[in-house]
Symmetry: C2
Subunit: 380 residues, 2 copies
């Protein structure tokens, strides 16, 4: 678990223009760190993606053709039945980038992290695929999800294939630390599954009373479900790069904080995000009555607004149109939005503090910080 | 893949009385091998189960309470929602027994194989759980399957949790060979998933013509789906017991042959098994038009009986009652039953030949052979 960190908070720019990780070459630019090309997050992501892609493709090519097709679809490399696409459905590749950057940050070539980078991307793809089945989500990145396109049984199988391939890829990695890396990945898998179990169970718990979900329980779930794999990505990069245990641990912690911050931003977008950017209906998390940080934080307050919010959430009527607008206003007036912004800021700062506390190579550390800022600001 | 073996075939006693692995202490008895208590398969299974059970229980206890409950249900340790049971739903524990016996066969204490035994039982439970979702099977061992009792989403999650726990358990095993063991387990996982993919795709292929499933394709599927994990169980026992690679490889091969033989016997039971023993309706595989070895072998023959069988299988009418009786008779008259018996005999003999070719401790090797014979005869 991540330990509490007290670091000065910088403002997280709310409502900054959203940019795509693949289409905005000028996004996330910061002052150049002594080289010709300025460091921008999209450039960093693209460089890491290009480094990892041949090995990731080679790994997926080892799958049975059918599960391989579903994996390629899920990775955004093709459409249903292998139809060509323009690549715009591909994810940003944050996890592979963290692995590569953290290897470089501990003084190793990025290549040394590639097996770890492949493994974490495969695990991420597995988890999206199985979570979409469990959550009944039919759309992801403006496309059908795998279970919707191929059926539930095949989607279960494709997820299993990706998970097995992730472990196999890392177990076959050269070098003396492959065993430790697999151990860490397997702990991460257990953590991911535990986080998903908590998340599913939250849906069955009441909004108020002693059985209600507390914000600290929600944070623990987010750390498991989102932070564990980001932490593992950073840690594997450092581990395969030959870093001492202490450095591996601090980078793991940075990734976990990033995950909690990421989830908080996701929750803000789920209530107040622009549908044109998120691809989801306005107030989508409220309409679905999802238990997210802003709502839980709002309900932790007493008073008539919290009571009105509770009765809206407990009402058997659908929560859409004016109901959702009112619920969003109530969450905000009960401090849910401000608490979630503070949560995101706190964990972004804590992630940065972790990075700054470790003896890292300046350029890679800078690129990692640029990436962190981009990931969170971009999504606001 | 297993290599072809030419060994003298012994008769596989068809229609021998079926016995339960847990309730027939005199079953599978053979001549005592120089000790007071005669070696019987149920005693061997019980001894191995008792050796492994504390570690298996401790592993399952590490799961999230919800996934742990589904895992315990799936292992036959309890009913839905943790209700007590009399243990009669528990599996025989063949895989854990193979791991323990193969460690002993290479001169190590059975304890050295326990982490491997736990891992293979967890993987077996995972695969049953996910396969039941994919195959839409609502009943296993005369009880509801996990997805039927808990829902599809939770069952996907429970399988994922078991898979992650299996890898984690082995990765944390003490000793210098844990890394190699995890590598072997991850290859096995990939093989299992590939076998399940083939099995699912067979259902969409025609009964005749160039796209029809050939018996050699079916055998390759059975080796992946059933043989890989049995081979891995034996190999992990030997590996963790410190055996040289050559011995590990030959025990792996023995387990793969056992798997192919096991599948052939399962296929015989699926057509001609006694419903009182199998717990399935008479001719159940034919009624479901499953592509199994006896039917594929029968269709490989020319002649009017094979043509009549093809039109029964291709008919849009349900295949029950007299239709299923007729189909079973046609499979038999086209040689499907005899070919499947020969397949089972051949691979049982090949498994025995593998065991006899390795330098093994006599008592454990004898117990393993007793177990092999029991597993196949018992099911006929």
């Amino acid at each position: 678990m991540i330990s509490p960190a007290t670091v000065p908070a910088e403002p997280l720019h709310d409502n900054a223009p959203a940019e795509s990780g693949r289409e905005a070459p000028s996004a996330g630019r910061t002052a150049p760190s002594g080289t010709a090309a300025p460091v921008t997050a999209p450039r960093v992501l693209a460089r890491c993606r290009e480094l990892v892609r041949p090995s990731l493709s080679a790994a997926v090519a080892r799958l049975h053709p059918w599960t391989g097709e579903m994996a390629a679809f899920s990775l955004g490399w093709c459409g249903v039945a292998g139809a060509p696409t323009d690549g715009s459905f591909e994810g940003k590749g944050v996890r592979q980038a963290l692995a590569v950057l953290c290897a470089e940050a501990v003084g190793a070539p990025g290549e040394s992290a590639v097996a770890g980078a492949v493994a974490v991307e495969l695990v991420h793809t597995f988890s999206l695929l199985h979570d979409d089945i469990m959550d009944g989500d039919g759309t992801r990145r403006q496309r059908e999800t795998v279970w919707k396109a191929y059926g539930t049984g095949p989607a279960v199988l494709a997820g299993d294939a990706l998970l097995a391939l992730a472990v196999q890829t890392l177990a076959e990695a050269p070098g003396p630390r492959a065993g430790a890396a697999v151990g860490r990945l397997s702990e991460t898998l257990s953590g991911l599954v535990r986080g998903q179990a908590e998340d599913l169970l939250f849906e069955t718990r009441p909004w108020t009373g002693p059985e209600a979900v507390r914000t600290d329980e929600y944070r623990a779930m987010a750390e498991l479900k989102t932070g564990t794999l980001l932490g593992c990505s950073a840690a594997l990069g450092a581990l395969l790069g030959g870093a001492p245990d202490r450095t591996v641990a601090v980078l793991d912690r940075a990734g976990r904080h990033l995950g909690v911050a990421f989830q908080a931003v996701d929750d803000l977008l789920g209530v107040w995000g622009d549908p044109a950017v998120t691809g989801k209906p306005v107030h989508s998390d409220l309409r679905q009555r999802k238990k997210t940080f802003p709502v839980l934080a709002a309900l932790a307050h007493d008073g008539p607004h919290a009571e009105e919010l509770t009765s809206l959430l407990n009402s058997p009527l659908p929560l859409d149109g004016t109901g959702a607008v009112r619920a969003a206003a109530l969450v905000e007036s009960c401090g849910g939005r401000a608490a979630t912004l503070a949560e995101a800021r706190h964990h972004l700062d804590a992630a940065r503090a972790c990075l700054r506390s470790a003896p890292l190579a300046p350029r890679a550390a800078h690129e990692t910080e640029v990436l962190l800022g981009f990931l969170l600001h971009r999504r606001m």
